[in-house]
């Protein structure tokens, strides 16, 4: 089967990316190892935001999926080929695709050892707590009136994503189960969408925040639960808790294996391979709003890449006439122009990267040597309209 873009991972980032690309008229295949789209939104509602809002968002996105090809229960086994002509081996089928967006998200693993503890019945990860809160009422009732401590910034220091999740969960715990909630962590990360307000709401609901100021918080097993010791104004504060919720170590889930003759992707801010794009939390530590925006940004990058494949040249430089004055380089808002050696003229000249050029013509109008021609709207055409000859 042939498509233009394959989006691997149907979580919030993958969905928003696939929808944006489909909106641009691209043939998209959305691949996920789960039975239905949604990723964390589906598996773990209440983790990325209030459970109800997550379900609503997912329903809206699923509705707009429409004719988009969704492949359930498929994982990426292998990737061969090159930019513009990748071949994907999935579990059950093969896909030919021009570009690939990896929105595969994170593997979250709880590491009790990071906290100096052994795995225990009353040590929960954030995702496990979200699962528990989403389960039937009797499970939630078991949390009623309990003393719960959140211990953050240990396995994943300063994770905005986990801070956001923990804030949502702490608010839900306080509201639905009337549990006593304590929060131990470093500086709160509330720069995301609406998180500042959520923090204030959580605080007003009665969650107690302890900020780690240099002296580490110590958690020790105590009477079937845990005892946490924090420092407030150089004085020790001891909080016994029946349940401790800890953060998880996050590892980007990159499905592509490396090997001889294989196209590989290493995790970095940007995929080093043209035509392969990373979107969402696989790329950076993002909360829900960030993931949705990042999906759309990846779609825009993929769209520009696909356009470059058709070889559509928007601006041409007459290398022999180029004065190398750098006016065009300076003016191009898309950084599509650079001065480099030109084979045709045997000297340095401005060169337009068709993948980045958007065809606005700012360079063509500014070039003092009149060496740049905008293909869609050349000077001759404008002067002809005016009845003037250039």
């Amino acid at each position: 089967m042939k498509v233009e873009v394959t989006v691997a991972g149907a979580g919030p980032s993958g969905l928003s990316c696939a929808l944006a690309l489909a909106g641009l008229g691209r043939r998209v295949a959305l691949v996920d190892d789960g039975p239905a789209p949604g990723g964390t939104l589906r598996v773990c509602p209440g983790y990325l935001g209030p459970a109800g809002a997550s379900a609503q968002l997912l329903a809206t996105m699923q509705e707009s999926l429409g004719p988009l090809e969704f492949m359930a229960g498929e994982t990426l086994r292998d990737l061969t080929g090159g930019p513009g002509d990748y071949r994907l081996q999935l579990t059950g089928r093969q896909l030919e695709t021009r570009a690939l967006v990896l929105a595969t998200g994170l593997d979250l693993v709880v590491q009790p050892a990071d906290h100096g503890l052994t795995p225990g019945y009353n040590l929960l990860s954030l995702t496990a707590l979200a699962g528990l809160l989403a389960s039937p009422a009797q499970a939630v009732a078991r949390l009623r009136g309990r003393r719960v401590a959140f211990r953050l910034d240990v396995s994943a220091p300063d994770s905005r994503r986990q801070h956001a999740a923990a804030l949502h969960l702490a608010a839900a715990l306080r509201r639905d189960s009337a549990a006593e909630v304590f929060w131990f962590g470093r500086d709160l990360k509330v720069a995301g969408d609406g998180l500042d307000e959520l923090y204030r709401e959580t605080r007003d609901l009665g969650v107690t925040f302890f900020k780690d100021t240099g002296r580490p918080v110590v958690a020790t097993p105590h009477a079937g639960g845990y005892q946490l010791q924090a420092w407030v104004d150089e004085l020790p504060v001891v909080v016994p808790a029946e349940l401790m919720v800890v953060d998880e170590r996050q590892t980007p889930r990159l499905p592509v294996a490396t090997g001889p003759g294989r196209s590989s992707v290493r995790l970095q801010q940007r995929s080093p391979r043209p035509g392969i794009f990373l979107a969402g939390s696989v790329r950076a530590d993002l909360e829900l709003a960030g993931c949705l925006a990042d999906g759309r940004a990846a779609a825009a990058s993929a769209e520009i890449f696909l356009r470059s494949l058709t070889g559509e040249v928007r601006a041409e430089v007459d290398a022999a006439n180029c004065a190398r004055c750098l006016t065009c380089v300076r003016l191009c808002a898309h950084q599509a122009i650079a001065v480099a050696f030109s084979r045709e003229s045997g000297r340095d000249a401005a060169q337009v990267d068709p993948r980045a050029c958007r065809g606005c013509g700012v360079c063509a109008a500014a070039c003092p040597a009149v060496a740049i021609k905008l293909v869609a709207c050349p000077d001759e055409e404008i002067f002809r309209r005016l009845g003037v000859t250039a």
């Binding site: 898309h334 606005c360 013509g361 109008a365 500014a366 000077d379 005016l386 003037v388």
Partner: protein
Amino acid sequence: MRLLAFVCERSAARAVEEARKTGSWPDGLELVTVPCSGRVDVLHITGALTRGYAGVLVVGCFEEACEFVQGNLVARRRVDYLRQLLAQAGVQADRVRFEFASPAGAPRLVRAVREMTEAVQALGKGERA
């Protein structure tokens, strides 16, 4: 008297279309549609003036609304520069103007065009030396 407007296809051209639909678009203005107002060169404007157009209007998107980031601002700077040159050369600078427009801003654009037309009419046809 001939007047010319360079219009950005993303904003101004759509505003003109809208104005034509409602019948408020003034006659006697010739249009050249460009992909971005930043495409308009000083030479295009002076070319139009020497060819006998009495006034030239360049219309671009509002600040921050430019699809190409800053094409509109580049164009405005260019027009300002040309106005200075014209003034030094003894040509009334008001014959050349830059206007911002949005696709939904047809009435505002119509008003700007009317103002421009009146101003140029007051200046007269212009004589070539």
